[in-house]
C-alpha cells in the first residue's frame, strides 16, 4: 500500500500532506524535509523513481507542483505514477484547469477529493466518473452561498 503523499512547490513549500499510516509528528517533519531536498535536487528528465530507506518513492512534476508518493516494497511503481496522474485529472476536473493557487486556497477540497479517490493507502475507486459523481454529490450537501454570505466574515 501507499505510505504517504506529499505535494510541494518548486520552492519546497508543502501544499498537501497525507499520511496513510500513523506517523509521529517529528518523523513527518523529517520525511518532508528529506523528500523535498531529495526530489528537488533531481535533474530534469531523470527517472521518476527512487529508493529511500525501505520505501519506493515515485514522484512527478505537474507545472509548479511536485507530487511525491511513497510505496511499500511490493507495490507497482508505474501504476503509482498513474495514481498521481488520476488525482491530477480529478483536481483538474473539479477546479477546471487546476493550478497551485487552487490547491492553496481550497486545500480542504483537495483533501476531500483525495479521500474520495484513495483510502488507507489503497486506491478506492478507479473510475473517474464515479469519483467525480461522489465529489459533486458531497458539494450538493453544502449550504448555499447566500446562507453563508449573510454571516460575518470575522
Amino acid at each position: 500500500g501507499m505510505r504517504f503523499l506529499l505535494l510541494f512547490s518548486r520552492q519546497g513549500r508543502l501544499r498537501l500532506q497525507k499520511w496513510f499510516t500513523p506517523t509521529p509528528e517529528r518523523e513527518k517533519k523529517k520525511i518532508i524535509r528529506d523528500m523535498t531536498t531529495m526530489v528537488l535536487a533531481r535533474k530534469p528528465r531523470s527517472c521518476n523513481f527512487l529508493h529511500w530507506r525501505d520505501l519506493k518513492i515515485v514522484y512527478k512534476r505537474y507545472a509548479s507542483l511536485y507530487f511525491c508518493l511513497a510505496l511499500e516494497d511490493q507495490d507497482n511503481e508505474l501504476l503509482a505514477l498513474e495514481i498521481l496522474h488520476r488525482y491530477v485529472e480529478l483536481l483538474d476536473k473539479y477546479f477546471g484547469n487546476v493550478c497551485e493557487l487552487d490547491i492553496i486556497f481550497n486545500f480542504e477540497k483537495a483533501y476531500f477529493i483525495l479521500d474520495e479517490f484513495l483510502m488507507g493507502g489503497e486506491i478506492q475507486e478507479t473510475s473517474k466518473q464515479i469519483v467525480n459523481r461522489s465529489i459533486e454529490a458531497s458539494d450538493m450537501l453544502q449550504e448555499t452561498m447566500e446562507e453563508y454570505m449573510s454571516k460575518p466574515a470575522f
Partner: protein
C-alpha cells in the same frame, strides 16, 4: 486487546465498505465551487502577501490570538464560525506551525448535523489529532453516532475518519462494528444470499471477488483478500481460482466491456495488478487446468507487450507496462515455468535498452530478483554488457544504482573478476551518495568469489586507494581477518601492503592495514634487503605523524611486534618509544602504550616476549560483518540474495539476522582490533569451508593439511559450529587448545567432545566441556598430547550436541602429525653432509618430485620449512636456490634425526623433495606431509 483485525485489515475492510455503501446519485447536480468561507480566503491571501518570514509569523500570531479569544469568549460560537476558525487553524498547521488548541472545537463539530461542519471537524481530526490524544474517546463517540445514523453520507465521513487516523486504538474500538455493517450492508443482499454467518468477512469478500459487478468494489475486495491471505493463506486458498477467472476475463476482454474501468485503452489496470499481486501470495496452482489458464493469461500479457501501442500517451504505456511488470513479478515468484521465465527475462532485456528511463530503471530492478532464480540466472547473465554499459552511460544516479545492484545480484564465480573490476572503475567517478555501498558490495563479492586470495588482497587495497574515505572499519577489519586466517596469502599480503605504502600519499586506512599486516607477517618479506626489518619500520614510522590517534596506537602495537619479530631493530624502536613525543604524549592511550611497550621490551626475556607477542590466532569465523552492514544499510528486503544455492521453487530464503555479542576473544588482542562480526546465518562464512556438516560417519579432514606448517587456525566450520585451534609442542609433548564457537543464537545442549587416538599417541582431555554452549558463546577445551612412537594416523575429534531438537554429530581429524614433535637442529655445512652420507641406505631416503601448487616464493617456502619444525640451514647447499633443513623427531621411545632438502625448479614449476632419516616410516611420513605444502 489485539483480538480484532489489525488496523490495516480494518482500513481495507473500510475501503470495501466505503465503496459498497456509497450510492452515487444519478442526476448531475449543479456544482457550487467552494462554500465561501470568506474569512479564510482573506487570511490565506494575507499570508501569501507577507514579504518576509517574520511578517508571516506576525500575521499568524495575530490570527491565533484572535481565534483563541473567540474560542474562550463568553458568547457561544455558531457552527459556521467554529468551522471557519478550525479551518484556519488547520491551514496554519499545514504551513508548518504547531497548533496547541482548538481540538475540542473540532471534536464539537462532529456532532453538528450540517454536512460541511462535520466534514471540517473530521478533516481536522484526521490531519491533526494523534492517536494517543485524550480526546480519542470523544472522537470515537462522534464516529459511533455517525456510523449508526443510517445517513449514508455521515457514515462515509465516519468511515473515512477511521481510515485516515488508522491507529490500532481506533481499529480496536470499531473491530466489531465495521464487519457487522459490512455484512448487514446492502451489498450482500444485492450479491448473493449468505449462509456462512460464522465467517462473515471471508464469505463476503470471496463472494465479491466471484460475483462483484462493479470493478471498484472488486478492487477493494482484492486488496482486503491479499492482506488477509498474507496472514492466513489457508483460509483464502479458494481466492486463487477466483482471481485467475477474473484476470482471464479482463485480459481477454475487448477494452470496451469494462467502460469506465478502462484507463487509456488498458482494461482495468488497477484490478489486474491487484489480482496478480494476490496470486503472489500463493504457489503456482496445483490443478492443471487452472494452472494452464493462468499460464495463458500470463502469455497473453507478455504477447500484448509486443503489439503496437493503442495510444501515444505515456499513460497508456505506463498502465500497460505496469500490468506487464506485475505479471513478470508473478512469474518470478512462481519460479517454476522455465519458458515463462526466459520470456520474462527477454522482455526485461528489451526494456534495458528502452529509451524511456523509467522502464530501464524498472527492468534493472526486476532483473535483480530474476537473477536469484536458478532457471533464469544464466539468462540474466547474458545481459552483463548492457548492464555494465548502463553503469557507464546512464545520466541518472538512481538508474546507475540499480545497475550496481543488478551486477551484484548476477555475480558468480564465472564473472566475479569482470564485475568487481567494473565496479572498481565506476567507483572512481561514482556519486558520493552511493560510494560506501559500492565499497561494501565490492568487498563482499571479492571475498565471496575469491579463489585466489591474492586477488582479494589486491581488490581491497584498490578499494582503499580509490575510495579510502568510504572504506568503513568493517572492510579493513575483514581483510585482516582473512589474511590472518589464511596462511597461503600472508606473504603476498605483506609484500603488497609494503609496496602500497611506498606511495607518497596513502590513505590512513592503508596505514592501518599495513601496520597490522607487517606487524604480524613482516617477517615473511624481511629476507629481501629491499624490505628488511629496518626499511619496513622506517616506512611505517614515516606515516606515523600524519595519522590520527587510533592509527598511531595501532602502529605502536606494530612496533612492539617488530621488536619480537626482528631483534635487530629493537634498539631503534626503543628509541622511538622513549622519545618525549611518545612517553609524554598528551593522549593517554598513546602515552600508556608507549610506556608499557617500552618496559615490556626492556624487562621481558625473549621467550616471554615471543609468547606475549605471538602471531594473532585466527579470528572466529562468523557472518561477514560487511554483509551485516550492507543489510543494515539497505534493509534485508532490498538486498538480492547472492548465495550460491539459488532459490528453489517459490524460494523463501530465510535470513537470520540475530545479532549476538562477540564472544570472548581467543587471546588478548594487542592491536585492539575487535572485529565484532555479528553472528547469524552465513551468506559469506562459507568462504572458509565450502561443505556443510558431514554425516556422522564421515571424518572431516579438509583443513587438515593447512595445519602441517602452522599451529593455529580454524579447523572446522559449518552453519552452526566453528572449531578453532591453538597448539604448542615441546619435544614429545603437546598441548592443544580447542575452541568451540556456537554461531547460532540458540543454545547447544548435551555438548560433548571426545578424542579417539591411534595407539602411538596418548591424548588426554584436561577437563570436559560444559554440556550447554550458549548462543554466540565460545568454550575452550584443553588437550594434552604425548607422542609414544612415530605414527601416521591422526586422532579424531568427535563432537555431539543437540541443536533445536536434533542431534548433531561431527567428526574432525585433529591436525596432530609427526612433524609437530620436531626440534630444530642447527648445523654447519660439513656436519650436514657427513650425516647425509650416513643416512644413505635406500630405505632411509624417500624422494618425491611434484608440481608447484602455489606461487614459488622463496620467503613463503622458507617460512613453511620453519613452520614444519626443522631448522632452515643457510649456506649449506652449494646451490643457493635450494633449501636444506635439519631436526630431530622426539617420541617417548626414541629420537629420530631428520635431514631434508628441497630443490625448486622455477622454469618447470616443479620441486624435488628428499627426506633422509634413520627410520623409513618417518622418512615416508614426513615426505608425504611436507610435499603437500608447496
Amino acid at each position: 486487546m489485539g483480538r480484532g483485525p489489525s488496523p490495516l485489515t480494518q482500513r481495507l475492510l473500510l475501503l470495501l465498505l466505503r465503496r459498497a455503501a456509497s450510492a452515487a446519485p444519478d442526476k448531475m447536480p449543479a456544482v457550487s465551487k467552494g462554500d465561501g468561507m470568506r474569512g479564510l480566503a482573506v487570511f490565506i491571501s494575507d499570508i501569501r502577501n507577507c514579504k518576509s518570514k517574520e511578517a508571516e509569523i506576525k500575521r499568524i500570531n495575530k490570527e491565533l490570538a484572535n481565534i483563541r479569544s473567540k474560542f474562550k469568549g463568553d458568547k457561544a460560537l455558531d457552527g459556521y464560525s467554529k468551522k471557519k476558525y478550525v479551518c484556519k487553524l488547520l491551514f496554519i498547521f499545514l504551513l508548518g506551525h504547531d497548533i496547541d488548541f482548538g481540538h475540542m472545537e473540532a471534536v464539537n463539530l462532529l456532532s453538528s448535523n450540517k454536512y460541511t461542519e462535520k466534514q471540517i471537524g473530521y478533516l481536522f481530526i484526521s490531519v491533526l489529532v494523534n492517536s494517543n490524544s485524550d480526546l480519542i474517546r470523544l472522537i470515537n463517540n462522534g464516529i459511533k453516532n455517525d456510523l449508526t445514523s443510517r445517513n449514508p453520507t455521515f457514515m462515509n465521513l465516519a468511515l473515512h475518519c477511521i481510515a485516515n487516523v488508522g491507529s490500532r486504538e481506533m481499529a480496536e474500538a470499531f473491530a466489531a462494528e465495521i464487519p457487522r455493517i459490512l455484512v448487514a450492508g446492502s451489498v450482500i443482499q444485492l450479491l448473493a444470499p449468505l449462509s456462512a454467518a460464522d465467517q462473515p468477512i471471508r464469505a463476503v469478500v470471496l463472494v465479491v471477488l466471484h460475483h462483484g459487478q462493479r470493478e471498484g468494489v472488486v478492487t477493494a475486495a482484492t486488496s482486503l483478500i491479499t492482506t488477509l491471505a498474507q496472514k492466513s493463506p489457508d483460509d483464502f486458498k479458494t481466492s486463487v481460482s477466483l482471481a485467475v477467472a477474473r484476470l482471464s476475463r479482463i485480459v481477454t476482454s475487448a477494452s470496451i466491456d469494462l467502460q469506465d474501468y478502462t484507463y487509456y485503452f488498458v482494461a482495468a489496470p488497477w484490478l489486474s495488478v491487484k489480482l496478480l499481486r494476490l496470486l503472489q501470495c500463493y504457489p503456482p496452482p496445483e490443478d492443471a487446468a487452472l494452472r494452464g489458464r493462468l499460464t495463458e493469461c500470463l502469455e497473453t500479457i507478455l504477447n500484448k507487450a509486443q503489439e503496437p501501442p493503442k495510444s501515444k500517451k505515456v499513460q497508456h504505456s505506463n498502465a500497460k507496462n505496469a500490468v506487464l511488470f506485475e505479471a513478470i513479478s508473478l512469474i518470478i515468484h512462481h519460479d517454476s515455468e522455465p519458458t515463462l521465465l526466459v520470456r520474462a527475462c527477454n522482455q526485461l532485456g528489451q526494456f534495458l535498452q528502452h529509451r524511456e528511463t523509467n522502464l530501464r530503471y524498472l527492468a534493472l530492478e526486476s532483473m535483480c530478483t530474476l537473477a536469484s532464480s536458478e532457471f533464469s540466472h544464466e539468462a540474466v547473465k547474458t545481459h552483463i554488457e548492457t548492464v555494465i554499459n548502463a553503469l557507464k552511460t546512464e545520466r541518472d544516479v538512481s538508474v546507475r544504482q540499480r545497475a550496481v545492484d543488478l551486477l551484484y545480484a548476477m555475480c558468480d564465480r564465472s564473472n566475479a573478476k569482470q564485475i568487481v573490476a567494473e565496479m572498481l572503475s565506476y567507483l572512481e567517478t561514482a556519486d558520493y551518495s552511493i560510494r560506501e555501498e559500492i565499497v561494501l558490495k565490492v568487498a563482499i563479492l571479492a571475498e565471496k568469489y575469491a579463489v585466489d586470495y591474492t586477488w582479494y588482497v589486491d581488490t581491497i587495497l584498490n578499494l582503499i586507494r580509490i575510495a579510502g574515505d568510504y572504506v568503513s572499519d568493517e572492510v579493513w577489519y575483514r581483510v585482516i581477518q582473512i589474511v590472518i586466517n589464511r596462511d597461503d596469502v600472508q606473504g603476498y599480503a605483506a609484500k603488497t601492503v609494503f609496496e602500497a605504502l611506498q606511495a607518497p600519499a596513502c590513505h590512513e586506512n592503508l596505514v592501518k592495514v599495513g601496520g597490522y599486516i607487517l606487524g604480524e607477517f613482516g617477517n615473511l618479506i624481511a629476507g629481501d634487503s629491499r624490505s628488511s626489518p629496518l626499511v619496513q619500520f622506517n616506512l611505517l614510522h614515516s606515516k606515523f605523524h600524519l595519522c590520527s590517534v587510533p592509527t598511531r596506537a595501532l602502529l605502536l602495537s606494530a612496533y612492539i611486534k617488530f621488536i619480537n619479530l626482528f631483534p635487530e631493530v629493537k634498539a631503534t624502536i626503543q628509541e622511538v618509544l622513549r622519545s618525549d613525543s611518545q612517553l609524554r604524549n598528551a593522549d593517554v592511550e598513546l602515552q600508556q602504550r608507549a610506556v608499557e611497550y617500552l618496559r615490556l621490551s626492556c624487562i621481558a626475556s625473549t621467550d616471554i616476549l615471543a609468547t606475549v607477542l605471538e602471531e594473532m590466532p585466527p579470528f572466529p569465523e562468523r557472518e561477514s560483518s560487511i554483509l551485516a552492514k550492507l543489510k543494515r544499510k539497505k534493509g534485508p528486503g532490498n538486498l538480492p540474495d547472492i548465495d550460491d544455492t539459488r532459490r528453489s521453487v517459490n524460494g523463501n530464503t530465510e535470513h537470520n539476522n540475530n545479532n549476538t555479542e562477540t564472544t570472548a576473544k581467543v587471546s588478548s588482542d594487542l592491536l585492539a582490533l575487535s572485529p565484532a562480526p555479528s553472528a547469524g546465518a552465513s551468506l559469506l562464512v562459507d568462504v572458509f569451508s565450502e561443505s556443510s556438516a558431514p554425516a556422522a560417519a564421515d571424518v572431516y579432514e579438509d583443513n587438515f593439511a593447512r595445519f602441517v606448517c602452522k599451529n593455529n587456525g580454524v579447523l572446522y566450520e559449518n552453519q552452526l559450529l566453528q572449531i578453532g585451534l591453538k597448539s604448542e609442542y615441546r619435544q614429545n609433548l603437546g598441548r592443544m587448545y580447542v575452541f568451540y564457537g556456537n554461531k547460532t543464537s540458540t543454545q547447544f545442549l548435551s555438548f560433548t567432545a571426545s578424542v579417539g587416538s591411534p595407539d602411538p599417541l596418548n591424548t588426554h582431555i584436561l577437563h570436559p566441556v560444559d554440556p550447554t554452549v550458549d548462543g554466540g558463546a565460545q568454550v575452550q577445551q584443553i588437550l594434552n598430547i604425548e607422542c609414544l612412537s612415530d605414527f601416521t594416523e591422526a586422532p579424531v575429534l568427535n563432537i555431539q550436541f543437540r541443536y533445536g531438537g536434533t542431534l548433531q554429530s561431527i567428526a574432525v581429524k585433529l591436525p596432530i602429525m609427526l612433524n609437530k614433535f620436531f626440534q630444530p637442529t642447527e648445523m654447519m655445512s660439513q656436519d650436514f653432509f657427513q650425516r647425509w652420507k650416513q643416512l644413505g641406505a635406500p630405505q632411509q631416503e624417500v624422494q618425491k618430485i611434484f608440481k608447484a601448487k602455489h606461487p614459488m616464493d622463496t620467503e613463503v617456502t622458507k617460512a613453511k620449512i620453519i613452520g614444519f619444525g626443522a631448522a632452515l640451514l643457510d649456506g649449506v647447499d652449494p646451490n643457493p636456490a635450494n633449501f636444506v633443513g635439519a631436526g630431530v623427531i622426539h617420541t617417548k621411545s626414541t629420537q629420530v634425526g631428520c635431514l631434508l632438502r628441497l630443490e625448486p625448479n622455477t622454469q618447470a614449476q616443479m620441486y624435488r623433495l628428499t627426506l633422509r632419516t634413520s627410520r623409513d616410516s618417518v622418512s615416508q611420513r614426513l615426505c608425504d606431509l611436507l610435499s603437500e605444502q608447496f
